[in-house]
Symmetry: C2
Subunit: 551 residues, 2 copies
Amino acid sequence: MNGAQALLHTLADAGVEVCFSNPGTSEMHFVAALDTEPRMRAVLCLFEGVATGAADGYARMAGKPAATLLHLGCGLGNGLANLHNARKGKVPIVNIVGDHATYHTQYDAQLQSDIETVARNVSPGFVRTAQSTAQLGHDAADAVQAARGLPGQVATLILPADVSWSEGGAPCPMPTQPAPEAASASAVAAIAQVLQSGAKAALLLGPQALREPGLLAAARIAQACGVQLLSEVFPTRMERGAGLPLIERIAYLAELASVQLAPLEHLVLVDAKSPVSFFAYPGKASDLVPPGCQVHTLSTPAQDAVASLERLAAALGASQVTPRLQAPQRPERPRGLLTAPKVCKAVGHLLPEGAILIDEAITSGLMLYSMTAGGPRHDLITLTGGAIGQGLPNAVGAAIACPERPVIALIGDGTAMYTIQALWSMARENLHVVSIIFNNASYSVLNVELERVGAEEAGPKAQSQLDLKGPVLNFSQLAQGMGVHAVRARTAEDFCQALEYALAHPGPHLIEAMVPESLAGAKRKVLPWLLKSLHHLPPSVAQALKRKIAP
Amino acid sequence: MNGAQALLHTLADAGVEVCFSNPGTSEMHFVAALDTEPRMRAVLCLFEGVATGAADGYARMAGKPAATLLHLGCGLGNGLANLHNARKGKVPIVNIVGDHATYHTQYDAQLQSDIETVARNVSPGFVRTAQSTAQLGHDAADAVQAARGLPGQVATLILPADVSWSEGGAPCPMPTQPAPEAASASAVAAIAQVLQSGAKAALLLGPQALREPGLLAAARIAQACGVQLLSEVFPTRMERGAGLPLIERIAYLAELASVQLAPLEHLVLVDAKSPVSFFAYPGKASDLVPPGCQVHTLSTPAQDAVASLERLAAALGASQVTPRLQAPQRPERPRGLLTAPKVCKAVGHLLPEGAILIDEAITSGLMLYSMTAGGPRHDLITLTGGAIGQGLPNAVGAAIACPERPVIALIGDGTAMYTIQALWSMARENLHVVSIIFNNASYSVLNVELERVGAEEAGPKAQSQLDLKGPVLNFSQLAQGMGVHAVRARTAEDFCQALEYALAHPGPHLIEAMVPESLAGAKRKVLPWLLKSLHHLPPSVAQALKRKIAP
């Protein structure tokens, strides 16, 4: 058995069943070994950013890692952005990067680079270059264990070609994964005391706490103590819809998040990070925790968040409390000329049971969260690390993890172009993904950002860097060129019809929503836009702003 | 004057006139400052790999660096592969990467990463994070100086948002660039003695030596001493065609390169690297220098190669020798069903004066080099670092550097998909680029590589990782979706007509050449394919193989 075969058998024994691949010469023995391991599915991607983003989306939905297969340091470089998103979302990935044969690196051939250095940022916890075929099985088992521990992480295993092709490999059984600890009794008691004090408090819920068990425990606590339930700006995966508690997301814009968090005296972190501004802005604070608010940690990302929440609920006598759950509620079917909010409304109106919603439409998707809140139960995946180009690859992975569930990905036009090659994998694997592209011919968010950073006097050259006109992209043609059924919609009626058709016909579809720039009014002033946009906002922010407008 | 304005003025003063950009929020002040510097052209790219590859192609043709503008560590990651190609080609680039404000990094916001680490591989000689607005002009001048010294390099300047937006910037004049040295008299004398010994020798010419002055000096030496003239496998930029000396390239396949280099007793490096195999293969040597062959260095990449060659010619009394130059010669117009060799033949038949040829069609483009050898004078750009996705972005940059010259880019289908977004920039900037995509629905080179690494028993899963069928990509639709005029050609007649039309109508065009897999015969055995392909081969290889076949 050669190294590649031992590696594949070890992965399959550990439950790693899918490999998202973009191989080159140094990975040919891994490729050849695929046929010796029937439990491993190989999904070819035409660009490494698709492979890494698909592995990310797969793990978010499957709850276990997939492998990638990348070609040396440059292939890893192409995959870095989506590995970054996975890292920030604490998502497990077994990231396999082929390398030159160990004896070949000394010659500094054309593709030579220091792969460990390239991997350092996205795999701070596990980067290993396999040194021998005999040890490769152990290396693979260690990588899987590192990836799927708490917090989940990107474990990078670098695979020299000769370690892969040499004989003498042996599969390695997985070591026992240590069970994570829950919050200590003293931490629970201290936080229980804070929550019972009557002070204004919120639980900030991270990835582990956003699935049903965590959500229900948190909602019982909220019901018992009146605390607010918040999620991070960009949740890794959130279960939501009618029958689950409604969680308020921290707003993307620091100006709004400040309003949202202002009343808080205590913020309790549950597998979450204390909130900070996405970017820095001149004269504005980076730390979003309001002055005087105390931050407490119920559980770190290395601890068991659900068990910690349940302990906290028990300490509060809330284990049997009936939590407040979201009632079923759908928006009306939209009509007339298509706009970005109408797209969100249509998705809310037609959302099928068990859908996987992927939101990478930062400005155009603003209303998606509220429009789908009372829809049938679904999952929401968002842009955890802020590196755009995540959504379409995530959709590939999510659809492979959950073949029986429809995937609906809402993607901005600028964003879509980073990893547009994902459409081909959707077609090749015949995945039930509806990709909705908001075509407003603009890097819309940057128009806002240009003003937010105080650079208001944008001349024509500056403006040219933010618009996607001349030529306007035709995503329907791009999709068709990759074998994906696609239509353009300019009215809400056409859009609804296209979405109904797509949902009724399993397989990949793309709907290009031709919409006006949703933040057109924001170019001159952010405040008027905010005021116009109350219905886009988290409820607590909208209420606070209403009070400001009409005092 | 804020930092961004000082940076832009410093760059423009230093002759950096184009910025290939893909900005985000942290770069908004740089974007806003563009309108304060009329000498700086900003070219928006929809993906960072396009921006970095365009900067590479620009510098190869302009002979001076362009700037990039990338968004934090993830943007840099997306641009790494083409920066790697630039580094391997010794191409100057001023690589500007925006970062969070200096005081914001402590908060580990979503897009936070260690940018210097990401940059380390591609910018080993110059990575600097600007620390103050007052110093930013100096930092920029240092970056330009580092980039355009010998050897050319990628100089990465990391630009924190507050360094960019704060007041107190001042443009900085360029320090004097030290003149590079030529080979020492003793080195020249020693090599002259070797070349006059009558032993079989070759000059291996790197980037500096492949422009007219170096080529003519080398050809005089060859004429005087009977040495062979070779170039590296993938030259950065080579001037060639009728009226210039013909240079034989070292073959990509190590099996062929070994045959090609076998007779040599001396190999003289001129701004070149001693030849090594692109990849390692089981049981095959990595070092391609034949046993007993001595390697000499006339000039290192840090030295002046042209002056060194001229000194060597003088030492050999060859300064006034008439060099042997390529005679004008074109292939016939091809006819019948289109194949990859016929595409190369058609390009050779129709090649216009002053064209810039970009070759990133590793298997399908095999005949391009011989078919264009006697065409009108042109430049050839190739895949220096082996990281695919270079060609289309290079074409963007080359066309911006030389707006009066037609650019013809020959690209494999697999390769094209890595940076397909380049087509949009061609349309937006109305560049005279003819992109020729070989659509054979296969990662053709990997079929050969699978066998070469000894992994011959490829099952269906392995094969599925190498083919691009199901669905076959439609590059014409992809191009049209990005605003580029495009046609598919299935016959040589259609192809020639499409190429004539494209060359006669300035602006971007894409011709999708529908061809059978060119190495189909190689799937079972590489040798029969090699034997069939003598006309693809460097002359010395073809002669040696002919002797082997018919002894």
